[in-house]
Structures are given as structure tokens and as C-alpha cells.
């Protein structure tokens, strides 16, 4: 083990115990908000893979969140399955639907793809709202159970939060591994230049589908955790606006950076809860902040930090240069301008 530990991985492993113990003092609402942040981070992580790494603009992540949540709710409430089994099925279902939806991604790009996925989102929402026999329609599905796993009852707020945290850790590590595998590099290559990637022998078809499907599977996994977290689901949280907000989340955090989804989800899902005291104005404040953020730094919050770091190192270099100038000047003589 002479290899240096990757700093990204180090942050993940350090953050885990902090997040494990820190919210212990919170009341149930606080725990719910923190758990919601993690769940949405998972969904945003999936979209970050699709958008940030593979460069496919998707407006369907909210729909996949819905597919995962409804699949889990239906399987646990109506069929009486356990959560782990439902989780796997929900994630697998989202993966499969993601592959199907990925086919348009092979034909069209950019805004066209955004509109195809937008159409998909609306259709999923309509099905959730109209097919009452399956989804409960506007009344939704209630009493989604929180499971007992390995003899631990996850019914309480803290226990379920820690369960969500563990799943988040696993999925984060999966994502990290994925991005550092040849697959992740292939995704990047396709985003940067699809033609060049193809000429290097990367199967664009397969990798585009895969990026889409894996991103969708993360959305489904997040939905599968969302359902037992809230214990009640109706179509409203999975409407088109949910997909918009998830897209804003990824861009606000920093599309294509590993921790961008976590920062963005904090911004999009915890900030509104903190601003709840302002009454109906919190969405206005949130939208205004996002607007200013995107204008100031299109690479997101983490891009802002990167830029600040660049700026500082440039300044440092400038001061060093300035300090070195007298000695350089003495060596070259004061009249160097006329010499050249």
C-alpha cells in the first residue's frame, strides 16, 4: 500500500463519520431535511454523470426519482416486499427505462435531447396522476413502511437517516469507482469530442446508453429511498419542475465535478428549508440566488472556489515576480526597454 490515497476518496471517508455523528442532536424534522439532502444528492450524482461527465442534457431525472419512489411504494405497500428487494428492483427498473430513453440520445443532442426527456417527464407525471388503480392518483400512496434490517429497526428518524447515509456512501463509492474506470474516461472522451472518441475505438452507442442508464438508475435509487423517508408519495414532487430543479442543482453545484451534486443539493434542498421562515418568498430568493450564481460562475459553486484558488495563486505568483524584479532589473540593467 504505497499508493497515496486519492484526495476525493479521503474527503468521502472523512465526511462519513462526521455525517454519522453530527446530526444526532437534531429533532425529527432536522433529520428529515438532512436525509432529504443525501437522497437528492444521489439523484443529482446520477444526473451529474449524465450531464456533467457524459454531456447529455436530461430533464428526466425528476421522473426517474418518481419511477423509483413509485416502484418502491407499490412493491412495499401493495405487494409486501422488503425494502432491499424493492430497492434493487426500482434501481433496475430505472436502469432499464433509462436505456430505452437513451435511444433518442443516440440520435439527438443538446436542446433536442432536453425536450425529448422533458416530454418523458410529463408523461411519467401524467401516468402517476391518472392511473389511480396503480399509483393512487392525486391521493397518492400512504404508509410506506420503513424496514427492519439485520435486526435494527429503522423506524426512527436517526436510524433511518444513518441507513440513508450508508446507502449514500456505497453509491458514492460506486460512482467514484465508475468515474475512475475506463468507462468514466470514455464518458469524458465522448463529452469532449464524440467524433474523436469514436475514432479512438470507443463505442459511442454503448457508452451513451450506459451513461444515460446509470444516471437514471441513481435517480431510481434516490426515489427508492425517498419513498420510505417521506412515508407518503403523490405525483406533485415528481412533476416537471422537479427535473428542472435537479438540473439547476447539478449546474449550481458544478457540473462535472465530483462533489458538485452534494454542494448543489445542499443549495437546492436545504437552503429552501432554512429560508422557510421567509414564508412564500423562499423560492424567489432561491431562484434569484441561482440566477446570480449562474451569471457570476457558469461552472457552479465549486467552479467559484476553483476560480478563487486560481486567482490567489496568480496573485501569489505576481507578488513573487514583483519581489524578484529589482534583482532581475539590476542584472539586466535599467535600460532594457531600449535595448530590444
Amino acid at each position: 500500500m504505497t499508493r497515496k490515497l486519492n484526495p476525493t476518496l479521503l474527503i468521502v471517508l472523512l465526511a462519513f463519520p462526521i455525517l454519522w455523528f453530527a446530526p444526532a442532536g437534531l429533532k425529527s424534522y432536522g433529520l428529515y431535511v438532512v436525509a432529504l439532502w443525501l437522497v437528492m444528492s444521489i439523484a443529482a450524482m446520477g444526473l451529474n454523470l449524465t450531464l456533467g461527465y457524459a454531456g447529455l442534457t436530461s430533464l428526466a431525472q425528476g421522473a426517474f426519482l418518481g419511477i423509483g419512489a413509485y416502484a418502491t411504494a407499490i412493491l412495499t405497500v401493495k405487494a409486501g416486499w422488503s425494502l432491499p428487494a424493492s430497492f434493487l428492483v426500482s434501481t433496475g427498473l430505472s436502469f432499464a427505462v433509462g436505456i430505452v430513453l437513451g435511444f433518442p440520445a443516440l440520435r439527438v443532442k443538446h436542446h433536442y435531447l432536453a425536450f425529448v426527456t422533458l416530454a418523458f417527464s410529463v408523461v411519467v407525471f401524467l401516468v402517476a396522476r391518472n392511473e389511480e388503480w396503480l399509483t393512487g392518483g392525486v391521493f397518492g400512496l400512504a404508509n410506506i413502511p420503513r424496514p427492519v434490517l439485520f435486526g435494527i429497526d429503522l423506524g426512527g428518524g436517526l436510524a433511518f437517516y444513518r441507513f440513508v447515509l450508508c446507502v449514500t456512501l456505497v453509491l458514492t463509492l460506486v460512482m467514484w469507482w465508475l468515474l475512475h474506470s475506463p468507462w468514466g474516461r470514455a464518458f469524458l472522451a465522448i463529452r469532449e469530442n464524440a467524433l474523436r472518441a469514436a475514432s479512438l475505438g470507443i463505442d459511442i452507442r454503448a457508452y451513451t446508453l450506459l451513461a444515460f442508464a446509470i444516471g437514471s438508475a441513481f435517480g431510481g435509487a434516490a426515489g427508492s429511498l425517498y419513498a420510505p423517508l417521506v412515508e407518503f408519495i403523490d405525483p406533485a414532487p415528481f412533476a416537471l419542475s422537479a427535473s428542472f430543479v435537479l438540473l439547476l442543482t447539478v449546474v449550481a453545484g458544478g457540473a462535472g465535478s465530483f462533489f458538485g451534486p452534494f454542494v448543489g443539493a445542499f443549495f437546492s434542498y436545504m437552503l429552501p428549508e432554512l429560508l422557510r421562515a421567509t414564508g412564500g418568498w423562499y423560492l424567489i430568493i432561491y431562484a434569484a440566488v441561482v440566477l446570480v450564481l449562474v451569471m457570476v460562475s457558469p461552472t457552479g459553486l465549486l467552479g467559484l472556489i476553483d476560480r478563487w484558488r486560481d486567482h490567489r495563486s496568480q496573485r501569489r505568483a505576481a507578488t513573487i515576480r514583483a519581489a524578484a524584479r529589482p534583482t532581475l532589473g539590476a542584472r539586466q540593467g535599467p535600460q532594457q526597454g531600449s535595448a530590444s
Partner: protein, 332 residues
């Protein structure tokens, strides 16, 4: 998602299932009752067509503005629907402050064009243009949330009456009762579009604008003031949204959430017709308006929103450049 629309009439207590299939070019000889149903169907069909053309004209106005702005500055304006929603709200807000109605209209109109024609271009699009398409699109998404929530909190969450310039009532046309408002909407919107078309093709400024839309770089080399032309398209976009807003608000009432449906319909219209053609957006608008109204009556009111979307997906997959669009060249 949906705007309130009167449900289609049911004739003789029978639900109208797929009358399209039953409607041949010639009425087949049959019992008298059958024939009556067929005539009633025909009436309803005509009403739906006129209503569809009226809605379509509104969509076309929004879609043309959307296309113009896209052509000259590569802006995907996700707030386009909110642009159509807002002017009516501004007028109502101005009149609530105590201004007389005509002054409220002036304030709403001028305020809107300044804010979302000039201001939108100058303070949002211009600084962000160099970052590419996506950040700007995201910014307009945030702007749409901002406008919508501001209208909801700053003005009213309830639907409000909006004064109509056209009297209510019906007109007999080919034996069918047709709403005067629908006809008026259609006529005014088409007049606005024809005026715009004439401006673009027959005046020097219009042709310069077209040149900017087709190739900004070459236009700049030929001495076209490109930024001023882009500004002009933003002003035209605001004006079209204004017309659409004043036309549609008396029918659908002024409400903060109206923009969602109109915006979506405008995108669909623009893409279905052809993202890079004004006449494409025009045709797309009418097509989507018709499909929207016919689907609500004949397919399913629960899934009416989905029908135009299915059309959209089919068009994107089969002919991504749109029905009337031309292919954009790819550069390697």
C-alpha cells in the same frame, strides 16, 4: 399544466368516441338519428378547429419570438411562457395601484418591453452569451421560476379577470356556432405575424436582422450592427409575448401559472415546425393548437398534455430539423 377549457358538448347523451373514424367525406345514407349525430359531430369539429386555430395563433406568437431569439443569440428561453403570462399581470397590478385602465395598459406595456425586451438582452443574455448555450438556458429556467413566484407572491395566487377588448358571443359560421373571441384572437394574431413577416422581408432593417440571424459573423463583416439587431429581435419577442398575453388573458384569466402550459406548447411548436424557421414556428404553433384542442375532445382529457409531446418526440426522432426546417451543418 392544463388551462381550463369548456368540456366538449355531448350530444344525445352519448359520449363521442372517435368520431374522426366515422366522418367520411360524404354522409353515408342511414337512419335519421345517425345523420343528426353526424351533423352535431361536424358542428363540434368545426368549433374545435376554430378554437384550435385561436390557441394555435397564441402558440405561434410565442414560438416565433422563441425562434427569433434562438436564431440571433442562441438563447433557449425557458421563461418564454412566463413572458406571455406576465404582461397581463403587470397591467392588473398597475390598475390595482389605482391607475385608470388605459394608463395601466401603457405602464404594463412599456414596463414589460423595457424589462424583458431590453433588460433581458442587456443584463442577462449579453453577459452570459460567451459561456455557451447551457448556462444561459439554466439562467432562463431560474428566471422563469423567479417571474412565476414573484407574480404569485407579489400579485395574486388566484386567477384574475382580465378586461377583454372583444365582446363575448357566438357567430354562426357554416352552420356552427363559433366564438367571436376565438375568431378575434386568430385574426389579431395572424395580423401581427403577417406584419412581422412583411417587416422582415420588405424593409432594410428586417433584412439586416435576417442576415444577423443566418450568419452573425458574415453580417458583422458586411457592416451590420449585430448587437443592435439582436436587441431588435428581443424587443420583437417582447412585443409578440405582449400581444399573446393581452389576447389570451381574457379567455383563460390572468394567473401566475399560465406560463407553464404556453411555454411548453411554444417549445413544442418551435421544434415541430423547425427551430430555425419563422414559418416553421408559425405552422408548428397552429398544428400544436389544433392537436391540443382535438386531443382534449377526442382522445382523453387526462392525457391531452401528452399528445403534443408524443408528436414532438416523433418529429425529433424522424426529422430533428423540424417539419419545415433545414438541416444545420455539422462541423468536425
Amino acid at each position: 399544466m392544463e388551462l381550463p377549457r369548456p368540456r366538449p358538448r355531448r350530444i344525445l347523451g352519448q359520449p363521442l368516441t372517435l368520431p374522426m373514424l366515422r366522418m367520411g367525406p360524404f354522409p353515408l345514407p342511414g337512419r335519421e338519428r345517425e345523420k343528426n349525430i353526424r351533423n352535431a359531430d361536424m358542428d363540434q369539429f368545426l368549433q374545435l378547429i376554430v378554437a384550435g386555430l385561436a390557441t394555435g395563433a397564441i402558440y405561434a406568437l410565442a414560438a416565433i419570438g422563441f425562434t427569433l431569439v434562438w436564431q440571433t443569440s442562441q438563447t433557449i428561453n425557458f421563461a418564454q411562457g412566463e413572458f406571455v403570462m406576465l404582461p397581463a399581470i403587470l397591467v392588473l397590478a398597475a390598475s390595482h395601484v389605482g391607475l385608470p385602465m388605459w394608463l395601466a395598459f401603457v405602464v404594463g406595456t412599456v414596463g414589460f418591453v423595457l424589462l424583458f425586451g431590453f433588460g433581458f438582452k442587456r443584463f442577462l443574455v449579453e453577459p452570459m452569451q460567451r459561456h455557451g448555450v447551457l448556462p444561459l438556458a439554466i439562467a432562463t429556467m431560474a428566471l422563469s421560476v423567479l417571474i412565476k413566484e414573484a407574480a404569485k407572491n407579489g400579485f395574486s395566487a388566484e386567477a384574475q379577470q382580465f378586461p377583454s377588448l372583444v365582446p363575448e358571443g357566438t357567430l354562426s359560421m357554416l352552420g356552427a356556432a363559433v366564438s367571436v373571441r376565438d375568431l378575434a384572437i386568430f385574426v389579431v394574431a395572424v395580423a401581427a405575424i403577417l406584419g412581422l413577416q412583411a417587416f422582415i422581408t420588405h424593409t432594410r432593417t428586417g433584412r439586416t436582422m435576417q442576415a444577423t440571424a443566418q450568419n452573425p459573423t458574415v453580417a458583422r463583416i458586411l457592416g451590420v450592427p449585430v448587437q443592435r439587431m439582436i436587441l431588435l429581435t428581443f424587443l420583437i419577442n417582447a412585443a409578440l409575448a405582449l400581444v399573446a398575453s393581452y389576447l389570451i388573458s381574457p379567455v383563460y384569466l390572468a394567473k401566475f401559472s399560465n406560463g407553464e402550459h404556453i411555454g411548453l406548447a411554444a417549445f413544442i411548436a418551435a421544434i415541430v415546425g423547425g427551430f430555425n424557421q419563422i414559418r416553421g414556428a408559425l405552422a408548428g404553433g397552429f398544428l400544436i393548437g389544433l392537436i391540443d384542442n382535438l386531443a382534449a375532445a377526442y382522445v382523453s382529457s387526462a392525457y391531452r398534455t401528452a399528445v403534443p409531446l408524443v408528436v414532438l418526440v416523433v418529429v425529433i426522432l424522424v426529422k430533428p430539423e423540424g417539419l419545415l426546417g433545414r438541416k444545420e451543418e455539422r462541423t468536425v
